[in-house]
């Protein structure tokens, strides 16, 4: 492995791991009513980083909750530039990661999008429909701007593919916990710890499980193997249901406490 110096996102998640803490990264749809106070509340409640979604018209990796949030934000006039500019005013002390679909970056232009992210204080980016094979034009621009590109790793991948994904991933590796789109499920899929374990065997990068992780119990189960979790729909649902930033703070706080209790056992 080359001695690449880790970016802010990777450094923060490694520091958490070194301190024996499981990472918690909530997802919040940018442009949704109350989203900025929600990011602040999530950070205050113990998030190690926050993913901020830029809504896209055709979110094929998202289930009903995040689709609805994106639709609502778009109807309210959310734009990529508007969300980035608003995020620039956040001062939450944890790294921010943008999550969106590739056309948003492609349309703005790879370099312009990467630079805008850097200028508005983002540490990383996740493009849900940009797989490794198509990622080079984007990652070149992102690397140049100092933006860490988080790549997804899915249960369908071969061992060789997982290794290739990990080699190009920055920040952390996003382990897709199940076959399916984002959304809350009753139980954690067995595939969640399996994919986390397969990834841990081939990379030293932090491995966070997302998709299908919603409850404190699911989070603690996933982190018996993984270094952390990404929780989206369960968080966004609080905003959709009108519980506001306080509601977000509560879910994130519950998850935080469960992860900490579990880690200290």
């Amino acid at each position: 492995m080359t001695s690449r110096s880790p970016g802010r996102l990777e450094a923060a998640l490694r520091a958490a791991r070194d301190a024996g803490r499981k990472s918690l990264v909530p997802y919040i749809t940018g442009g949704l009513d109350g989203w900025r106070p929600a990011v602040e509340a999530a950070a205050a409640a113990g998030a190690d980083g926050v993913e901020i979604g830029i809504p896209f018209s055709d979110p094929v990796m998202d289930g009903p909750t995040i689709q609805a949030a994106g639709d609502r934000a778009l109807a309210a006039g959310a734009t990529p530039a508007g969300i980035l500019a608003a995020a620039a005013e956040l001062d939450v002390g944890v790294p921010l990661v943008v999550m969106t679909y590739y056309n948003i970056a492609h349309h703005m232009g790879h370099r312009r999008f990467a630079r805008s992210l850097a200028e508005t204080g983002f540490a990383g980016a996740i493009l849900a429909d940009l797989p490794l094979e198509e990622s080079a034009p984007w990652t070149a621009a992102a690397d140049e701007a100092g933006i860490e590109t988080v790549l997804l790793a899915a249960p369908t991948a071969s061992a060789e593919r997982l290794a290739a994904v990990c080699a190009r991933a920055r920040g952390f590796v996003y382990a897709v916990g199940l076959l399916g789109v984002t959304g809350e499920r009753d139980t954690l899929a067995a595939s969640a710890t399996v994919i986390a374990g397969r990834l841990k065997a081939v990379t030293d990068l932090p491995v966070l499980v997302g998709v299908g992780v919603s409850t404190p119990r699911q989070a603690t189960e996933a982190t018996t193997v993984a270094d952390g979790v990404v929780v989206g729909s369960a968080v966004v649902r609080r905003l959709l249901d009108g519980h506001g930033p306080e509601g977000v703070g509560e879910v994130v706080g519950d998850l935080r406490r469960a992860l900490d209790r579990h880690a200290s056992r």
């Binding site: 094929v60 689709q67 056309n103 703005m108 369908t156």
Partner: protein
């Protein structure tokens, strides 16, 4: 310039590629490998050819339009894909993909549909081969193509009405992709046009190449050579890709006709949705716009990447027509030739009819991609 294979990465010039969520990449790669091996396998091609002949009714005839040609002042020929089993060109692709799915050991087909023709074709192939079938269709289309919804259910398919976004083809594709992400281990996504991630644009064109190959032989016999102009409607672009592929290495002009409200080539700029980079109607921020067309099968803001390439290189050109022009053409063909066309290929005829002066005296081949039974209700409603 012929329509050649894309690069191994699935590029036609700068367009194409494989932009899918990571979960689906291995499935697309497997499909690429399986299609390559099947397409090189004489036994697979024999099986497909016999199904196309003995089940779907190929070859489809080439019809001379006597009365309409006289009325328009040109020589109009129709490639009669409307006479295929299930009523459109869609069956060519579906039989190929269903056989391929079986070869890959996948027992379930999922499909999107706009006009319902691709959904009906997929449900038909599933019934024929004893496979499960789920079809996603936008709510708006479920309402305007009710006959096809009933046909799909009769054929044993599960039809889901999609209530998100534009509630038309674009969102049906989103929902089919979401299904596939969750079920990829046992499901094949039977995509209905020359779009989506590699290898679909290439594979679907190859399955429809039979249209162009037959038409070229038929034209050689009837006309002693290629027609002057080859015309096809373009939604995703499969029927156009099929017929164009028979003529690209010749001199014939190739014209794709889009609806004015879904003119991806005419009004689009390069962008990525549903797996490939192509022309796409989008707003200033990169959000995909909703198309607006009377024809459910063409009501789509994107277009297959090979068409973007054909447009960019100038080998084909893309024109658009309005809903009113289409309705007039729908009636014109019915009245003069006794052929009720689907609203989709009526776009091609609408363009020919509008441009008849420029086309005077020339030989024009129109791909009549489907029959109009499914649209009769809708047109009746408009006339009421």
């Amino acid at each position: 310039m012929a329509m050649t294979d894309p690069t191994p990465e699935g590029r036609f010039g700068e367009f194409g590629g494989c932009y899918v969520p990571e979960t689906l990449v291995p499935a697309c790669q497997e499909l690429d490998r399986s299609f390559r091996s099947a397409w090189a396998d004489a036994a697979f091609r024999d099986r497909l050819e016999s199904l196309l002949r003995d089940y779907a009714g190929r070859p489809s005839p080439l019809s001379d339009c006597i009365r309409l040609s006289a009325e328009l002042g040109l020589r109009l020929l129709l490639k009669r894909e409307d006479l295929n089993h299930t009523g459109s060109h869609k069956i060519n692709n579906v039989l190929g993909q269903a056989l391929l799915a079986q070869r890959m050991g996948k027992a379930r087909l999922v499909a999107e549909t706009g006009a319902g023709q691709h959904g009906v074709a997929t449900a038909t192939a599933a019934a024929l081969l004893g496979m499960e079938c789920t079809v996603y269709m936008g709510e708006v289309d479920v309402a305007r193509q009710e006959l096809n919804v009933f046909r799909m259910r009769l054929l044993g398919a599960e039809v889901h009405a999609v209530a998100t976004g534009s509630r038309t083809l674009k969102d049906a594709i989103n929902e089919a992709l979401r299904d596939w992400v969750a079920t990829v281990e046992r499901t094949h996504y039977c995509l209905g046009s020359v779009m989506g991630p590699h290898p679909y644009p290439w594979m679907v064109r190859e399955f429809h190449r039979v249209i162009g190959d037959e038409a070229r032989r038929q034209c050689a016999a009837r006309l002693g050579g290629d027609p002057d102009v080859v015309v096809a409607c373009v939604g995703g672009g499969s029927n156009a890709a099929g017929i164009f592929s028979g003529f690209t290495d010749g001199e014939a002009e190739l014209v794709g006709v889009e609806p004015a409200g879904g003119a991806a080539v005419g009004r689009g700029i390069p962008g990525v949705v549903h797996g490939s980079l192509s022309y796409l109607m989008q707003d200033e921020f990169g959000q995909v716009l909703e198309a607006a067309s009377i024809s459910a099968g063409l009501d789509y803001p994107g277009v297959g990447p090979e068409h973007a390439h054909l447009a960019r290189t100038g080998r084909a050109r893309y024109e658009s027509v309005t809903d009113d022009e289409v309705l007039a053409a729908f009636e014109l063909l019915s009245r003069t030739e006794g052929i009720i066309p689907a609203l989709e290929p009526a776009h091609g005829l609408a363009w020919i009819s509008r441009e008849r002066r420029a086309l005077a005296g020339r030989t024009v081949l129109l791909n009549l991609s489907g029959r109009g039974d499914k649209d009769v209700d809708l047109v009746m409603g408009l006339q009421a």
